[in-house]
């Protein structure tokens, strides 16, 4: 056992600084009082119980789930084909195209959001769940492309050639060999892109119109002090769900890189 060095203490403080504030959310969601401050007045699960009866909240949750699922499917299917092309083929403009796909990671959300709003309105797409889904797909694409690229990186090209050599056509080869081998990567990509969409606020705020997603709904509730404990409870649940999804996604991503021999 090595003694903790100065760097380890630094690393520990760094992580505490990053993540401790997040832990206040679940802590105060069990506080028996409407003011978010120490000392804790007492413990209650009342705020969680109240969540069940709020219809607008349920509707926002459903909106978020629908947007998340559709986004995950769109981004992952596009990411799957894009990643295969990036790993397998050399073509003109490949580097540029790979850079372009990663761009949403670095453009400020507010810029993307306002440009998309202008674009969508000018081509006749009203702010709606569909607009949010399109925006989220754009945001989630870099995640699915990089996850699928790592799945294809370890994939021996001769596996597809062997399937072809043994009589399978292009579609059969994809279905019986390519898909099953990259399946863990696909699951990881679905989960991550769903989470990206489910937690996203800025784009949804600009593009959702009168169909708020859950983060937009939470933002609207934060203005009412009486609703704050409810919001904390809801936020804690979302936090838990996100962490759980990402852990599962990471499990599948690792499995995908291990499965290739």
């Amino acid at each position: 056992m090595t003694r903790p060095s100065g760097l380890m203490v630094y690393a520990f403080l760094y992580l505490a600084f990053l993540y401790l504030p997040v832990l206040f959310l679940p802590l105060f969601s069990f506080n028996d009082g409407t003011i978010v401050a120490f000392p804790i007045k007492g413990w209650t699960t009342e705020w969680y119980r109240q969540l069940g009866g709020q219809e607008t909240l349920i509707q926002a949750l459903v909106n978020s789930l629908v947007v998340g699922v559709v986004t995950a499917l769109l981004a992952t299917s596009m990411g799957l084909f894009a990643a295969r092309a990036y790993v397998r083929y050399r073509f003109r403009g490949k580097e540029a195209s790979e850079g372009l796909v990663m761009l949403p990671l670095v453009i400020p959300g507010i810029i993307v959001a306002s440009s998309m709003l202008v674009l969508f309105i000018s081509i006749g797409i009203k702010p709606s769940l569909m607009a949010v889904t399109l925006g989220h797909t754009f945001l989630a694409l870099p995640f699915s492309v990089s996850i699928m690229k790592s799945a294809f990186d370890d994939f021996d090209v001769s596996l597809e050639e062997a399937a072809f050599d043994l009589g399978s056509g292009v579609v059969e080869t994809f279905r019986r060999v390519t898909l099953p081998i990259v399946a863990p990567g696909i699951v990881a990509s679905l989960l991550v892109t769903f989470t990206v969409s489910f937690d996203e606020f800025v784009l949804a705020f600009f593009l959702s119109g009168n169909q708020p997603t859950l983060p937009v709904y939470i933002w609207s509730q934060i203005r009412f002090p009486a609703k704050l404990p409810n919001t904390l409870a809801l936020g804690s649940l979302l936090l838990l769900a996100s962490v759980a999804l990402l852990v599962v996604a990471e499990y599948f991503r690792r499995r995908s890189s291990k499965s290739s021999i």
Partner: protein, 369 residues
């Protein structure tokens, strides 16, 4: 008895942009033979194999398999199957499903598939391992699965791309014999690509040697070893002493030459090499040289020199003999019959050679001004 040509390559060529990977390759492969394409890496042998398999279309020329022109037939429509260098075992399928993969593309009944799969696994000595996971196999087992998966399709030609290069030395030698036996039992034509001359020589009926995209010589292993058609092949296959010589007389298929150290002798003319001037190069295999302390009798050429190095290999001993007037020492190898090393560095020694062991390698390239 003339055997049927199962594969005919007619002037096939493959260009990638300006790079010519394979140029004007013509070759007939007989039914039931074990043929190896041998050459250094990058010589185009794998590209040639992939054109037979249908993974690549020739830029020019024809691939004819069993009398049928294969143009427009991709790999999944050809009567060939391939064993890949990496084996390409499907990691998500167990051994049985790996072997059954191709049969399931053919709409064969389940019971027949099961029968043929277990028969194929028996053949490669993996009987009963159907449910073993692909990731649980050793290197040698994966090689066997790859063989079974291709052979179960009963291809007219089995193509093997460096099939033994991923195995360690002992296993590789064992598999060389097993594959040879399998091929003779089944009577299927095997076409193997390899850069390993020993692998090619131990397994093949005939070997085609490729350099820089060209097929240079096609012969049975003993002929290829004894009569390499040029210096490139002579130095690629086995060991060879290269010596300068001068043509002093020509009569039909024979040449009378003068070798600076061994004197004059009559040798066979090599029809494959150009000989424009009188300066030629000749080759002598180290094991064809007699080495002794006294002047050997009844040899067509003899010379005295001095032992410079002795290398003991176990099964034989190599002596490097320095001879006056020859830049590089001449290598002679002697089988280790009596577990003795008869000569020491610095000892004088005689070398003797028969004219039949001297190979004409044509115009001495170093003497062209």
């Amino acid at each position: 008895m003339t055997k049927k040509n199962i594969i005919q390559l007619q002037g096939i060529e493959k260009r990638f942009g300006k790079f010519v990977a394979v140029s004007d390759l013509s070759l007939d492969l007989h039914e039931g033979e074990f043929f190896s394409l041998l050459g250094p890496s990058g010589c185009g042998k794998t590209t040639a194999l992939r054109m037979i398999a249908g993974f690549q279309e020739p830029s020019a020329g024809k691939v004819i398999i069993d009398g049928q022109d294969m143009e427009g037939f991709p790999a999944n429509k050809r009567p060939t199957n391939m064993v890949f260098q990496s084996y390409a075992i499907f990691p998500h399928l167990n051994v049985g499903n790996n072997v059954a993969y191709g049969l399931r593309n053919r709409g064969i009944s389940k019971s027949e598939i099961d029968g043929r799969v277990s028969e194929a696994l028996e053949m490669v000595e993996l009987g009963g391992l159907q449910s073993r996971g692909a990731t649980e196999l050793s290197g040698g087992q994966r090689q066997r699965v790859a063989l079974a998966r291709a052979l179960v399709m009963r291809p007219k030609v089995l193509l093997l791309d460096e099939p033994l290069s991923a195995l360690d030395k002992k296993l590789r030698e064992q598999m060389q014999f097993e594959m040879r036996h399998l091929q003779q039992e089944l009577g299927i034509t095997f076409v193997m690509v390899t850069h390993d001359q020993y692998e090619a020589m131990t397994m093949s009926d005939r070997i085609g040697v490729m350099f820089d995209g060209r097929l240079v010589q096609v012969d049975a292993p003993p002929t290829l070893y004894a009569k390499p058609c040029n210096k490139e092949i002579a130095s690629f296959i086995g060991e060879m002493n290269f010596l300068p010589a001068r043509v002093i007389g020509e009569e039909g298929d024979g040449l009378t030459i003068s070798i600076p150290c061994f004197g004059n002798m009559k040798i066979d003319r090599n029809p494959n090499v150009a000989q424009t001037g009188r300066d030629i190069e000749i080759g002598i295999r180290p094991e064809q040289l007699e080495i002794s302390a006294q002047k050997p009798e009844n040899y067509d050429g003899t010379v005295q020199g001095k032992i410079r190095d002795v290398a003991f290999y176990g099964e034989n001993v190599h002596y490097h003999v320095q001879v006056d007037g020859i830049d590089r020492p001449i290598a002679a190898s002697v089988p280790n019959y009596f577990h003795t090393v008869d000569h020491r560095p610095g000892d004088p020694a005689w070398l003797g050679v028969q004219s039949a062991s001297v190979i004409d390698l044509g115009q001495d390239q170093s003497k062209i001004k």
